[in-house]
Symmetry: C2
């Protein structure tokens, strides 16, 4: 007898999340520029755990409690923070063995929204293959959750959703009737031959470039830089063991 | 001096609409399968005006007031209604010179959500070229508003958004930094060479086929069947004169 396949869906904006929510889902939170890329980089460089917080106030409070804090708004490192939100800040020298607080509005909100689910994991191009292999081993439906930008559709998150969906569907273990998966696969197929050039089309690029934050775009689209899989447990991100 | 260009955006789900709302917008409401295709067909066949209503209760009340009512739920014509929601029901014989009530949950909701805007017009493949030409003459920013299905992303509405965006951007009168426009253009470019086959991929097709409602899919993707442009005024749709 053929094994039943698991459902694969993609949610293109936090505003649509309630339509996809299911306690049985494994949810992959995606915020390519820059939260989930930075989180994967930090675990690759040996961070012990990351506490995601939504607001500057929470980040400040955590700093007062003695945590190392990554926090910026509109591209500027906040005065009380140790460094900003770029993946390049999470060097082994700064993070190995440490507990870090990471302040990210969209990413944290998505993690909290999905926290009722079976599991919440962090996805980026940086851990694409190891994440897909782990998901294929889990025997559960998967929802790829694009954090997007201010609830709007985000091209780079959707392209990643297509890259991950391709691996999951190719495994034969998943099936989908979700239009967002179909669209993301087609956009990924278009983008794949020249990913960096394609992503430059994204509005996010314009926004980041204006603020001089576009230095990490190429890095954030580099596949399989690491094999870590950050997972959310009791308010903290830790590496899947 | 070069003329300033007008903003073009696409909203992929009613759940995201608040992020795109702007009183100065001309909003194009899109629900390819089937509301906006049916509305364009009705005006092509000479309907005088269409009153869009959201609920079965409103439709029933309008029937009691003497209106001709198109109303169905889950593919079944409601017992009090004159006919169902397929474009094929809006024949000249049935609708010419008449006032019709059209019951559609998604479409009506989007029209009402956008009613604060400068104008609300109805878009479908059936009136693609005439609508684009009218929009180019208006000197206002345009928001293409995909009604989608239960707030989820809808492939056929997005493909249409790409077809319309292509015409608007080609005119040189619009510009965009909206990722949803970029994605819709790329999906339209992929779909265009064989539109019907592409659209069969849409989950909507699966849903409609299950209910035997897939007879109008090909018709709903036929470009320029008509030159009518339905516009929303005082709670009713009338043709642009």
């Amino acid at each position: 007898m053929k094994n039943a396949k698991f459902r694969l869906e993609t949610c293109l904006s936090p505003a649509i999340y309630p339509k996809h929510a299911d306690d049985g889902n494994i949810v992959v939170v995606v915020d390519i520029l820059r939260a989930t890329s930075a989180i994967c980089t930090a675990f690759h460089n040996g961070v012990k755990r990351i506490i995601p917080v939504s607001t500057v106030e929470e980040a400040r409070k955590k700093k007062e409690e003695g945590y190392i804090v990554a926090s910026e708004r509109d591209g500027y490192v906040l005065d009380f923070a140790d460094f900003g939100n770029s993946p390049f800040n999470f060097t082994a020298e700064k993070v190995r063995g440490k507990e870090i607080v990471y302040s990210t509005t969209n990413g944290t909100r998505c993690i909290h929204m999905a926290s009722h689910s079976k599991e919440v994991v962090i996805g980026s191009f940086l851990n694409l293959t190891s994440l897909s292999e782990w998901l294929i081993r889990q025997d559960a439906p998967v929802l790829i959750f694009c954090a997007s930008w201010k609830d709007r559709f985000s091209l780079e998150d959707t392209i990643f959703a297509g890259a991950l969906a391709e691996k999951l569907l190719d495994s034969g273990k998943f099936e989908t009737i979700c239009d967002a998966v179909t669209a993301s696969l087609d956009l990924w197929t278009l983008a794949k031959p020249n990913l960096n050039e394609y992503v430059l089309k994204a509005a996010q690029k314009g926004r980041l470039a204006e603020k001089g934050l576009d230095d990490c775009i190429e890095f954030c689209h580099r596949a399989d830089f690491t094999s870590v899989i950050p997972i959310y447990r009791d308010g903290e991100l830790i590496p899947v063991s």
